[in-house]
């Protein structure tokens, strides 16, 4: 009983003494910082924060065994989907017209998906209430895109954006997962799409937001190898990935993870960004950054950057475009807590350099655009894995850049 009464007394004490009143200006200070802080790309955010993470693999052999098992499972799943998914009149399960209700305003949305593994896709919102159509009399928002099908996932990019006629706005990549049990598509934003009936009738009523299950990941499965394409500013980058590995990639920006989206314990990934500025200090990024117009200027600024230690650069090319390569590392005992946002980041738009990490950055000129492609190594142990190094080198060497 003593324990119960002590606990009750302690609980009551804490409840009585709690001060839940924010300090003056505390809320405003936080919102001010949020206003000037960018969100991390989805994959990077997941790598930086992963609730319920699994432990590191005890050895390379175990890791490879797990990857092999995953590949076998993926192969089996592919055969099952391929065997039973597509009807006789469709080349893929995605082909056809899909209907959903816009959760924002209840308007009808339509998605027309053509045949093939990279189908042409037409999106239409019957009544747009967003700012894109504010000047248009007719509020029908349309966009034409191109899809890529990976097993039961369709990722659609809209290179020309969309709009109601007067204005065109950029469109985010749409990711939709096919649910064979219900013959529906579940979008990454939680909206469920229903197949339009053959007689032209549309299913009513249409559910809007689906709370669960939600897709576990918006990453593209690239486990079977092949080609991965994503936009980087005005450039389009394509990488060729080897089979029998567990690469996954973001659909809406160029970011490839070697060990699959949900595994942050072996954080080896490749990302690409256009570089326009380099800060004078990788840690304190509160000051003005230096504008860079060429790869040479970017490399020079990086070499002079404080808190990194002047990394050496060597000449390098990407897809024939000339530039340099430099390797940056951060010792495991470096305290980044005093840095802006608590991280060391040589290039603002590239993943941060956390203690123990190694960042190999290629910077090249692509017809007036400075392109950075970075390989992020989670630790020296990964960097010393010669097989992995060779694989990453091959991926970077496979890059094709379209201005």
């Amino acid at each position: 009983m003593m324990s119960d009464r002590f606990s009750a007394g302690l609980r009551q004490h804490l409840l009585d003494s709690a001060n839940e009143r924010p300090a003056d200006g505390q809320l405003a200070a936080i919102l001010d910082r949020v206003a000037v802080t960018a969100q991390r790309p989805r994959l990077v955010a997941r790598l930086a924060w992963f609730p319920g993470r699994i432990g590191p693999f005890p050895s390379t052999a175990v890791r490879l065994a797990l990857i092999a098992a995953a590949l076998l499972a993926a192969t089996l799943a592919t055969s099952l989907l391929g065997g039973g998914g597509a009807g006789p009149s469709r080349s893929t399960v995605f082909e056809g017209t899909w209907i959903a209700t816009d959760p924002g305003d209840g308007s009808r949305q339509t998605l027309d998906v053509n045949a093939g593994m990279t189908p042409a896709v037409h999106y239409e919102d019957a009544f747009s209430t967003g700012g894109a159509c504010v000047a248009d009399e007719v509020k029908v928002f349309t966009a034409d895109g191109r899809g890529q099908i990976f097993e039961n996932r369709l990722a659609v990019t809209y290179p020309a954006g969309g709009g109601c006629g007067l204005t065109t706005v950029p469109m985010e990549t749409g990711v939709l997962d096919y649910d064979a049990a219900t013959d529906t598509l579940l979008a990454s934003d939680g909206v469920r799409w229903f197949r339009a009936r053959e007689d032209g009738a549309r299913p009513t009523p249409l559910p809007t937001i689906v709370a669960s299950p939600r897709p576990e990941s918006a990453c593209l499965d690239l486990h079977g190898g092949g080609s991965y394409e994503a936009s980087v500013g005005s450039l389009t980058l394509t990488a060729t990935l080897p089979a029998s590995t567990s690469w996954e990639g973001l659909p809406d920006s160029f970011l490839l993870s070697r060990f699959g989206c949900p595994d942050p314990e072996s954080p080896v990934w490749v990302e690409a960004q256009v570089v326009t500025q380099v800060g004078p200090d990788a840690c304190d990024r509160s000051g003005p950054a230096l504008e860079v117009a060429t790869a040479a200027e970017a490399i020079s600024a990086l070499a002079a950057q404080a808190s990194i230690g002047g990394p050496d650069s060597v000449d390098a090319t990407l897809d024939g475009y000339a530039g340099s390569q430099l390797e940056m590392s951060q010792s495991a005992d470096f305290d980044a807590s005093t840095c802006t946002d608590g991280v060391l980041a040589p290039l603002n738009d590239i993943s941060s350099l956390d203690p123990g990490n190694i960042l190999v950055v290629h910077v090249v000129d692509v017809e007036g655009t400075v392109l950075a492609v970075a390989i992020h190594w989670g630790s020296a142990a990964e960097r010393d894995d010669q097989q992995l190094v060779a694989e990453l080198d091959a991926v970077v060497a496979s890059l094709r850049i379209e201005p």
């Binding site: 002590f6 606990s7 007394g9 505390q26 200070a29 969100q39 989805r42 609730p51």
Partner: protein, 205 residues
């Protein structure tokens, strides 16, 4: 447990409505909507600041930790798969930020959180009540921040020990032993502090 718990809710003392609305805010904020995130901050800042104050026992350190936690939340929100886990996620970020702040010893020398006005005239029973509160406060001030954290999570937020362990990134067994050490230390502190052990014993036993 739904998101509504942490959003303006204290240990279940207030209503649990608005979960869907909060979920919608989380989904919007995850997509980059700063207004939605601002609303989430406004709804939860008081509660999280109270937790930070209890763990760190320093007003400014607590404010720093809460700010760090919110900024980290904003940056990493795109990686949050399940919006319904926002509450637990935010809690974990705050605890991490508190430990980081405590490790760096930012202003943690100052321990000044007054509970009840000391100069308030004593009324029947109030003096004894005040003495116990003072002793608990001194006890809490003496134990390490990591032990205070588990006490706050379990006794103030009313979390199951497993959830507290998750928030602190430690195994359940570690959380159990940490809580045990904390409560033992609090009892010992009270006994050492108390000039009249039998009276305190009466109140707590």
């Amino acid at each position: 447990m739904r998101v509504a718990h942490i959003i303006g809710n204290a240990a279940g003392r207030r209503g649990e409505g608005g979960g869907e609305q909060v979920r919608d805010l989380v989904v919007r904020a995850r997509g980059g909507d700063r207004d939605a995130f601002s609303e989430l901050v406004a709804r939860s800042i008081g509660r999280l600041t109270a937790v930070g104050r209890m763990i760190l026992r320093d007003e400014y350190a607590a404010q720093d930790a809460v700010q760090d936690a919110f900024i980290e939340a904003w940056r990493s929100l795109p990686g949050l798969r399940d919006p319904d886990r926002f509450e637990a996620w935010m809690r974990r970020l705050l605890v991490r930020a508190c430990f980081r702040t405590a490790r760096h010893g930012k202003r943690t020398a100052s321990v000044e959180i007054r509970l009840t006005p000391a100069d308030e005239p004593a009324v029947a029973g109030a003096e004894r009540h005040l003495a116990i509160h003072d002793q608990l406060e001194r006890g809490l001030a003496r134990i390490p921040a990591q032990q205070r954290a588990v006490v706050v999570l379990v006794y103030y937020l009313d979390l199951p020990l497993a959830d507290a362990a998750l928030a602190m990134d430690i195994p359940l067994g570690t959380a159990k032993s940490r809580l045990n050490r904390a409560t033992n230390a609090l009892r010992a502190a009270i006994e050492a502090d108390d000039r009249e052990p039998s009276r305190v014993g009466e109140q707590l036993a």
